[in-house]
Amino acid sequence: MYIGNVILLVLNLPLVGFWARIALIPFPILGPLIILCSVIGAYSIRFMLFDVWVALLFGVVGYLLRKLHFPVAPLVLASVLSQMLETSLQQSLLISQGSWLIFFNRPIAGFFMALAIASIARGIWLQVRSHAPEVAIDDADE
């Protein structure tokens, strides 16, 4: 493992220039290549054209979200975690026989839940105090 780590550093530090130069390719050529990579990537997940159509749809959704200054990161994380989140929620409720208190009376889980609620509460507090319009500051665009 460690050899791989070292080689990657040795190999990639000199190659940094090469990778960065990708961005110098004129966009009319780079754009279709990006789309090509995306289509290959989307298709090779399950070898279903359906996944390519989904990527296309979410391309439009992503464009609108970015134009309207929605943050995109929460959407990604939610879609990645959703399945695991639901499974562990159902398992937890099986263990506790339906009681939601299980997330608060176990020390580690309780700690995480407290942090989560605190961060949301802080967000709402900041929200109430400021009257600025909803513009994501972390937007990668612009």
Partner: protein, 529 residues
Amino acid sequence: MRSQRKCDLAAGVFIALLGAVVILAASQIRGDVEERLPPRTLPYAVGFMTLAGGLGLAVKAYRFHGEDPRIQWPETDGWVRIGVNLLLLALFTAIMDPLGMPITTGLYVAGAIWYMDRKRVVAALLAGAGSALVVYYLFIRLLELTFPLGPLGRLGETVLFSWDLLLAGFADALTWTNLLWALVGCLVGTLIGVLPGIGPSAGIAILLPITTMIPPTSGIIMMAAIYYGAMYGGSTTAIVVNIPGEASSVPTCIDGYEMAKQGRAGAALGISAISSFVAGTLGLVGLTFFAPLLANVALAFGPPEYFALMFMGLSLVISLSGRALLKGMIATSIGLLASLIGRNPLTGAARLTFGVVDLMAGINFISIIIGLFAVSEVMINVEKAAAHIYGTKFHGWMPTWAEIRRCAGAMVRSSGIGFFLGLLPGCAPAVTTFIAYDVEKRVSKHFERFGKGAIEGVAAPEGANNATSSGGFVPLFAFGLPTGPALAVLLGGLMSTGFSRARCSSRRTRSSSGRSSPACISGTLSSWC
């Protein structure tokens, strides 16, 4: 519709309607009342969350009176360009089945380049032919992915066979030293990782047949090299063209792409390599010293702890959106909504599929990521008819010493976060990189720089990503328990090269008897080589 207020109003109403539709659809889900979590509960919850978020946004926009930021919608020709490009892409997907992948690829690439820049006829033709060849050789012949071939299928068998023999000859000539294999692994891994959607796990799985053809030691080293290479490749595209290879490099996009736009792509790539290296080293040190102790902690994590951890990850990311809390919440509920479609993971009952067969299998999050980042990035650039992704000239290929020193804290912190969270089976690297980014933003004295090209914002997720995989080796060597899909594939590869599972399980008895197990140490030692 140029005012942010009106757009927010419209978006809010639309999203609220979407929520209402979901609630209606959820009420149609049939299910057992006896279950602990009735199947309707989650769709209802997400539907109400969407509805509330949309209404909140609409009400807030309605009541807002003040300075109203403008939204930069494209001009008419911008819309036309976006439309034509989308149409081309749709056409590409539609004719892929009858005509076969290579031919469609060539046509699409040539056509799209020609449409965007009429003067580049030669470049368009060359790029079209080149990409068709790459698709054919790399993906269909070498990696044996089952793309539709179309009429090429039979032709290729006869004409191109001799070429393959020549290529095989080259491959034979290259089997000399392990270092060489590692080099190859890194390079191929990076190339594979550059494709969005093919992350480390898919990369190793695709290349696994190649690693079993060579001597075991070289095979293991090459597999590790592919693993790291694929992870690095994912961050490369995240930085240079704002396309994360997988979910865990999404936080890298935020500051990495911003740095690239300022002409500092080289520095961002450099710090990403250095930070990965430092975190990998620290992680392996941690693995050597703490492995026996930590393995037991990881076992104390049950479903409630996982739920709480992931819930915390989500809340942190929502609160990361700063002033746009409602929009962060709406984005979250859209993400949850998309992955609710399909089957209930425990009972297998279909929900929210509206009778469409394709929706039964669910929506894969990788295609969501590809669409959100890659496709929308192209649309943004198409709209402006941009000649380059970003106009600035490059300066500074390498990060300066001052910058590396500034990142030292971030590297150590993210290594710690990544390593400890990496111990937990099922904890995706996506969670740890998001958490590491969030922590770094909160710790930093200059948090306002984050999102505008802060170099620490690149170092933190990159370090965490690598440390997570080091942490994942603890349960892998201690219990033979892989913590994620990538490690599971790696374990499969290791076992096929003689790293037996029996040795793993003998370790389990020793370490549970409380002694600092020598087998566990030998496992870690082998990870160093």
